[in-house]
Assembly symmetry: C2
Homo-oligomer: 308 residues x 2
């Protein structure tokens, strides 16, 4: 972490959407003085009121025009499905030289829907901080969410290098490491490391919930045998995830196709009793876990170090 | 937990297999004086040597006949695929009145393979403690593994009620709660809460590892977005899991069939852009998570309370 005495990277920051990501950004900015002033806006009066009580924004505004006025950095932190509409609404109120970023989990569709609304003289730089939890809403954010995590930056053509570099230093001040990526590649990588795993977890939990022959009570009692890990992921916000799948359709379907192909191969090995194939498969997958631990991307404590 | 001054439930306990489960049982017995003396045996000299160094058994024996001699409780804690053979080997050395249990993750096949070898006057009571971590081997056990977890007991016909009740109090002394279940139902419940989730996690990690267009380095770096949860499960012992799938074939294939059916329905909703169906599905699955948290079967800290 950088020393608190460094100057703010952006003087005025506006957060649109006040959930896990925006809240964590606000707390992280506070921790490090990354912004001069932070304003926030969310759709519902409840979320705005809650944010006022929690105190992670200097000002909470009741409309979109007000929150973006004079802002140097505007952060779209809503579900991806509404970002185009939000961009259209704020466009007339953006000041020249401002930077608009989004933190959406999908990049190609967001760029298609947001970029056309960005006025001349304003820069749009798509971002995706690769960190999250299963919780959502204003009360779920915390300052260390981005520490040691990667934030992918997906610049569109014509953005001045200086603006991208400044944004990189902004994310680094929030604790993240940054990397640039093409939108299509971003969406494919995320389909693999996030979107399809979430879909699968949702599906498995749905199956368990739906089975007549095994009661929900049994599923709940005996979940420690592996299943409960899936339920954590499948407790994530339904609106956010609906939008992710609808906007990253292509890459999701591609990876799902690969997944079912492999699953059928393993299913066949089980049916035919091919123990060697199963053993070889289960051995190979251990290497990836080792890599994640060595890269400091997870704890090696048993069971994630859960306390019970 | 019970006070330390209660008498031992079994005087002499023999552990066959010295991995996560046996090690945790030994540490838990020590914590609470549940056994007078604990002996252990594992296949390899390394595991036996490691166990001697770790000190969780009073005596480590170098052969099977020796370890079971005079034992009041014999615990089969090897992968399920070898339990039949182990039972056959120890059978002539069991003392009358002894109790043999297994801790295998599958019950119907284990009963079929073990029960025929159990001599007259010896009681075989299949058990399954529903707790584990992704680690294995003698060094992976710890005393609190079973605390507040369920141990399923699957008595076979003709076992005296007193023996089953005694075993229940044994598991309760190790920290577990007990419940009795029929073998077929056990295998189905475990297919849902454990076996199929493991297979799916292995598959997803295999897919990620195999994709040419996304590098392993990328998968590792960006795994915090959800994928790393799957890698934990997919780091579990390959031999144990091979045996689970080969011996719980029927229930695994049944639940897998249900899983792919649901997955195809969600895939179709993505393809056709049916946001309502996705949203409804993702909302329903949250209730199960809530149930697990209320039942005290998981932590509600974000991200399992991982420290990083
Ligand atoms: N959660 C993660 O793991 C994660 C990780 C990386 C990126 N992301 C991305 O980050 C974004 C935000 O996710 P989050 O987890 O922070 O979500 P969240 O906790 O559910 O918060 C979403 C926020 O957006 C607001 N909102 C919704 N519709 C709006 C509209 N039409 N106008 C203005 N505000 C609106 C909500 O307001 P109300 O409360 O009033 O409804 C809420 O404050 C999403 O695009 C997501 O894809 C999420
Ligand atoms: N891990 C879980 O999450 C979990 C949960 C509930 C139940 N279970 C069940 O518990 C049993 C043990 O699992 P675990 O996790 O403790 O496994 P583990 O840590 O891999 O240990 C297995 C032990 O069995 C020994 N072994 C293997 N083949 C043997 C043979 N032919 N004769 C004697 N010993 C042999 C191994 O000896 P070497 O070290 O010398 O190879 C090792 O000590 C399995 O049946 C599993 O299905 C596991």
């Amino acid at each position: 972490m950088t020393a608190v005495c460094e100057p703010a990277v952006y003087e005025k920051v506006a957060l649109i959407g006040l959930g896990l990501i925006a809240g964590s950004m606000a707390w992280a900015m506070k921790r490090d003085g990354t912004a001069g002033e932070v304003r926030g806006y969310a759709r519902s009066a409840e979320s705005r009121e809650m944010t006022r009580r929690l105190g992670f924004c200097d000002v909470v505004c009741d409309d979109l025009a007000e929150v973006v006025q004079d802002a140097d950095l505007i952060v779209l932190a809503t579900p991806v499905g509404v970002m185009g509409r939000v961009a259209e609404t704020i466009a007339p109120h953006l000041k020249p030289g401002a930077v608009v970023i989004d933190v959406g989990s999908v990049k190609r569709t967001v760029i298609e829907e947001v970029a056309p609304h960005i006025p001349e003289g304003v820069h749009f730089v798509p971002c995706h901080p690769m960190a999250g939890t299963e919780h959502s809403g204003p009360a779920s954010g915390f300052a260390s969410l981005f520490d040691n995590r990667w934030c992918l930056i997906v610049p569109v053509e014509g953005t001045p290098e200086a603006e991208v570099a400044r944004l990189e230093s902004y994310w680094q001040r929030l604790g993240a490491r940054t990397e640039r990526m093409e939108p299509e590649h971003h969406d494919l990588v995320c389909a693999v490391v996030s979107h399809v795993p979430h879909l699968i977890a949702y599906t498995m939990v749905g199956v368990a919930d739906d089975l007549r022959r095994v009661s929900d009570q049994e599923v709940i009692k005996f979940s420690a045998a592996g299943f409960r890990d899936f339920t954590r992921i499948a407790a994530s916000d339904p609106t956010m995830w609906r939008d992710v799948f609808l906007t990253n359709k292509e890459a999701t379907l591609e990876i799902l196709g690969r997944f079912t192909e492999e699953l059928f191969a393993l299913q066949r090995a089980i049916r035919t009793g091919d123990g060697e194939q199963l053993h070889a498969y289960f051995t190979r997958t251990r290497a990836i876990r080792r890599g994640i631990l060595q890269a400091g991307q997870d704890t090696d404590k048993p069971d994630f170090g859960r306390t019970r």
